[in-house]
Symmetry: C2
Subunit: 340 residues, 2 copies
Amino acid sequence: MIHSEKRATIHDVAAMSGVSITTVSRVINDNYPVNVVTKKRVNEAIEALGYRPNLLARSLIRDKTQTIGILVPSIENLFFSEVIKAIDGYLSNLDYRTFLCQTGGNPLGEETMVDSLLNRSVDGIVVVDPRTKLIKSGFYEGLTRRIPLVLINGYNQGIRCNFIINNELAGTTQALEHLVLQGHKHIGFMRGKKSYSYDIKEAMYVDFMNKHQLEIDDMHLFQLPGGNDLETVKLAKESITQLFSNSTNMTAILCCNDFMAIGALNGAKTIGLSVPGGLSIIGYDNTLISQISEPPLTTVDHHMSELGDAAARRMVELISSKSAEYKKIVINTDLIVRGT
Amino acid sequence: MIHSEKRATIHDVAAMSGVSITTVSRVINDNYPVNVVTKKRVNEAIEALGYRPNLLARSLIRDKTQTIGILVPSIENLFFSEVIKAIDGYLSNLDYRTFLCQTGGNPLGEETMVDSLLNRSVDGIVVVDPRTKLIKSGFYEGLTRRIPLVLINGYNQGIRCNFIINNELAGTTQALEHLVLQGHKHIGFMRGKKSYSYDIKEAMYVDFMNKHQLEIDDMHLFQLPGGNDLETVKLAKESITQLFSNSTNMTAILCCNDFMAIGALNGAKTIGLSVPGGLSIIGYDNTLISQISEPPLTTVDHHMSELGDAAARRMVELISSKSAEYKKIVINTDLIVRGT
DNA sequence: ATAGATATAGAAAACGTTTTCTATACTCAT
DNA sequence: ATGAGTATAGAAAACGTTTTCTATATCTAT
């Protein structure tokens, strides 16, 4: 391949139509009166040369790139990809392009990517699942002073950043109330390794159980070691089979995401425990898999695309208005009652 | 938010360290001898000011942006997100950033995004699932002359582009041979609406059946109307139940992706047909869901991350060597025999 | 006829870099 | 002492735009 065909510049257009580059620029941007016949000549030259303005040069002088960076631990995760789809979809309509950055879910990755994006003069940064460590350390608070920044799904009181979060209180409560209403007294809780959304769900769970004077014994609340989605399913499955071989009294369980719930479901099936007859299972996220499992999962929908939409909306607000407030936007949840 | 803290420029560094910007540039790029004590002074100034070169300016003059565009019909699809993950992962290590562009799976979307990327002077473009129409029309052939371009999962004989494709012949054949070996004679084939990968799989299927003198009756080969993944599952499920209520003689079916296979599996369960006893099902893609279904799906693994890796590797080859050949790279497939 | 306003358009500066070209001071062999 | 070579560094051009400043011609009101 020889990619040699040189791109026409504004100078070529100017030369061809016999005007200055200033005039060409004015025709392109339509921000200054240009004689109608001149304008026509310029437009013809643009057409003839297939001229397109070089956005690098424009960005350099305007100090705006129409570019947003999205940071995400990893993209193949169903939750993240839904959110990204929404953010990118919204911004795409406004002629923004998005840089996709995978951080690997560690602080160093996030810092490195932020750095890279700043060097590229992005107009704003959205972080999905920001590391709690960086929120607490003030890293993101400082960054907010430099550039429009929106954090999805991470929150700390007193930190002055723009947050988009789920109403975990509502989501957890809806699920637990549903189970109580069904007569369950021994309700378990399954979570993953330390992270903002698990921590807060657990706090809500403990709080709810205490309020309702329901017992939490040491077989009720447990934490899976980390891993990818597939591993999560397997670990959850093993946990459930093991739990019941130790004859727990648990009759229902709230899982922190749908993969755990699927694992629990598969585990229950394996040991001949009927769902929801012998064990009720509630998932979290309302991902695709919760809809196609058999029976389909009862789960908490926290409207991932709304999270993304809200983040994108807030971003353009920040970019255009330079508003001085810091907002925490809470997205509501719904319990989707299906077959488990 | 007031995002006012101005970024230090090379001029600030030069002023602070008492040298010219030329010298600062040389220190940064380490491409010209600079006196060691001067160098130290400059580095201290860089450190003190927190200076980072503006990559827009650098790109403008170097005519390289270290940026690659990735086009994809939509990102939340498991197949696409795996591929994107691989491409971005590979390029990220080489300090490239990737623009993520969702095209909606239509030719207009692809053309618009290509245009946008060209205006932004990307160093190359990768298209996942390019529209056959644009390949045939010569659009991509023309684009190849302007910029490094790699197409994943679309192919047309005689078109001079860089293709990364799966060995569909091998994949389909492996699956069908496996079924024949199990003694199946009446093998069905389920595909989606017109697209490159379905078309070629169907051709392979027909070819295989003819060669083995196996009958294809009109209940054997059928096509689902389009839709998203969830709809695909539902449609496949309906198709299977309907098919067997019409008492087809089919004992095995090859599905063009895992979602169809899951739908078929669910459908079979619904009508009390045992899998694989009453119906053998083979999926395609080896996505996460094929591993967590019960029983787990037998499926064709076409190594999505290898597709992405190969594309990224080819891309950097094209960028650096300006090689004049057009390559078709074929990624092999494996049949993963599981429980269906 | 003259001053002021208006419509139009070009010259030049600017954005923040890299790179080519030029200049200076020093070293070393004659 | 002279010339060539070497180490170092600055000036200026360049990348492709936008924007400010300036200029000219025409029109309008006195």
